[in-house]
Symmetry: C2
Subunit: 557 residues, 2 copies
Amino acid sequence: MASNQDLLSIFALGGVHEIGKNMYVLQYGDDMIVIDCGSKFPDESLLGIDLIVPDITYLLENASKVRGLVITHGHEDHIGGIPYIIKQLSMPIYATRLTLGLIEIKLKEHGLLSATSLHEIDAEATLTLGRIPLSFFRTNHSIPDCLGIVFETPQGTVVHTGDFKFDLTPANHQHADIHKMAAIGQKGVLALLSESTNAERPGFTPSERTVGDHILEAFTKATGKIFISTFASNVNRLQQVIDAAEKTNRKIALLGRSMVNVVDISLALGYLAMPPGMLVEANEVGRFKPHEIAVLCTGSQGEPMAALSRLASGTHRQVEVSSGDTVILAATPIPGNERNVARIVDNLFIRGVKVIYGSGSVTGMHVSGHASQEELKLMLTLMKPTYFIPIHGEYRMLYQHRLLAEAVGVAPERIFIVNNGEAVDFRNGEAQQGRRVPNGNTLVDGLGIGDVGNIVLRDRKVLSEDGILIFVLSLAKSDGKLVSGPDVISRGFVYVKESEALMDEVQRIALAAVTQLQDEEATQWGLYKQALKEAVGKFLFMKTQRRPMILPIIIQV
Amino acid sequence: MASNQDLLSIFALGGVHEIGKNMYVLQYGDDMIVIDCGSKFPDESLLGIDLIVPDITYLLENASKVRGLVITHGHEDHIGGIPYIIKQLSMPIYATRLTLGLIEIKLKEHGLLSATSLHEIDAEATLTLGRIPLSFFRTNHSIPDCLGIVFETPQGTVVHTGDFKFDLTPANHQHADIHKMAAIGQKGVLALLSESTNAERPGFTPSERTVGDHILEAFTKATGKIFISTFASNVNRLQQVIDAAEKTNRKIALLGRSMVNVVDISLALGYLAMPPGMLVEANEVGRFKPHEIAVLCTGSQGEPMAALSRLASGTHRQVEVSSGDTVILAATPIPGNERNVARIVDNLFIRGVKVIYGSGSVTGMHVSGHASQEELKLMLTLMKPTYFIPIHGEYRMLYQHRLLAEAVGVAPERIFIVNNGEAVDFRNGEAQQGRRVPNGNTLVDGLGIGDVGNIVLRDRKVLSEDGILIFVLSLAKSDGKLVSGPDVISRGFVYVKESEALMDEVQRIALAAVTQLQDEEATQWGLYKQALKEAVGKFLFMKTQRRPMILPIIIQV
């Protein structure tokens, strides 16, 4: 249809009503531009699942229209889905230098370096994808080289903020480009998509520089070795650690694969600076006096296989944390990770280590990378959008962001809280919400992408809670008479040796159910299976209040 | 041995190096007194487990010496284990009136009311168990009628604080008996066991009265119905809600079994006061105008089956929460519950409800029931113990409590951080730490107590992550030749219909493994089982990076 050539649509394939898995699409006529390609971790109900990435059915159906993938920054919730998505749909990727470096590592790991083309951009770049000119503006966040994106569509200007905060004293002296933002707002913005992660937090997020001050203070006080754990991707924080180490005459060692990767690439690309001879190998740490060493390590979220957890339990192969050392957790535990982090703190205290832990707002060792309410209002004020779509967040965050937008004067009827797959369509300057496009979660389990569905997950849930009882019986081919069984095998239900009486009863009940059908000369296997499930299931629930999976197997002999 | 008649021992069977499952034992000669009998919830690694209670093997071995069970207060982590323990070992139970009322409900539910004897005490009571005189002192906590216990042993006085805070403006005007505590300390305390839950928190825990002020303010502002969710056992908070409802002319309805239970018993025993006609049935709520109703409900921790969760999702049978209503979460989410609470807030916002949520320190709608650092130091100062054993807490809390004790002058070598089952023995005024007694976790799964062990849990873990593949084959009785199979059945691994190619390959590999053994004229079933596990396991890990349980079943025909 001709009129569709003028239709501007914006929708999310991931990132709203959730944290993570960010993927937004801007479509104008036959040109589709994808923004970000993130992953997220499954909650505990998705048993055995490693990762969730966006379902891109809609992009595959419109593959000929996809002009490219533009990435705002290099965090996992924005780039973690790339290898899984690129396997399904190759598209050129546009990102800043550091972001591209991190994407390259991922593609290399998956053997996909030649599967797509990578294009370096910076905040001053302009490019045109299909009929749409794009420009960018620099923002602050907890990783360097972050972009907001400006799409100059014939229907009007659309702005996507990416993740941001306003850090007025950024550790790397790279200020968010407020003047450029002001100019964009002054020219007129049709629609703003702005991130909502911290929309529930009053005030203004503290500067990363404040963390540097606390790190230096701790380094100055410490007498033994110092271990400091933080997100590897927070390159500016790594630099502040390096600076503190330099000032207190300590060498730096790195523990953890992602820490080594990020430091390597950041040094190579000029995002980190370190004096020559300062970096020592992990296995050289023992050669120095304790007060000459600072160790940057992964595992600040309590990840059981990461460096910090191994240090705390005394199972790291190369380095030992000892009484008199200081461990700094420069991160606030994300909900769900508290127990693992607490276990590490317990283990470190048992070793007589001084531990600086707890919420960053108390220790000063962590600040958020996301805009709090006053900063979100500042962004809305700078951009003066006609329409506003809060993105990046669970419903309550999007909702709080809506209230902030209303407070700074955006008309309530022009604010759209959307769900994934729910498009906002712009035609002649008027917007409408509600058209749906296919969307969903693609589950990654090991090497399988999307091969685990609801039935498998439901089975895993039953198996995880109460285990499985398998009944094996054989029936004669000739006359259907019971030849052997039913024999029962239990896994994950009860420990048979300690529950012999119960299992004997189960066997007796199963035999009774089968015998009754034999007496009735039943031949249909389905009847036997159903009778076993019912009789044993009922008995077990009455006796134990458990509902194990009951799986009858019948063999014809 | 005669000398053992003078030995005083103190040990925990639960409650140290953990939160919950509290059970302490004081033994003097042949007299054992048990203090508290709590339960705790399993962490996510204990798949399918409902509850954890102390392993009382040691008490069973010494059943003739157990003189009684003294309960400090009526929270689950102090009384939740009673039905499971009393089934194994009957002992007289001593507790205050409200605590006994809550214990009776539990015993009734388990049909155990006649399994033991219940003895009411109060803070002024004295009693003698075996050769040991006991007295008590009143404390403040987030449930009324809490006791600290004083044991007058010939070796010296031992004090167990139970859970406590110092609330100098308690909502129920029942002050902690500081004068009695001071007198006990003045007379001399050999050993203090004091709770450590909030030992990491600086300062002084705010008074419960501050919550009442915030509740009244919210009630005054609200225009629609008010729903307020809190722990049912926090009777003083319930009273403050009732008071606010009275002042703002609202009726009170109750939702949730534990809320109804606690209010019933508290009204009956005089711990709650409510004007006549104020309480309305849940199904009568619809008859009143919204501003005439306040609803007290369970589910403040996001429990999916509790009242608040049902209200938020619109599935409560009797009451509806509507746009314009106010929902108050008068509780701080316990780590691990944040996601469930957040889901409720999301759902309430979607319904257009005003929600007061988040940390109690921000909303003012919740204060802790546990002593912060200054209060712990106050208790230590009042009691002036010669020896100190921090209890109730994970290691880091016990450790911080040790630092507090050192700060107020307890000699470091007289502070014992103990593990469960690790006794502190007192002889002639000298203490020694280290003797071990049997202890552990008893896992409750449905009606089974202790019948789920490590093997079952390990199986559940494998099953939950990658499911199970069952191979069935039959071998001839006569010559061991393969008659049928191997057939493969999958549960919780992949969805077979969408992974036919993979399952075909699995079948082929299984057949090849069996055929090779047939060619070698193998007869031992163990060889077949091992070959199947190895061949299929290796293939699947290579192909999918998953490790499902592989269960070969061989039938002789």
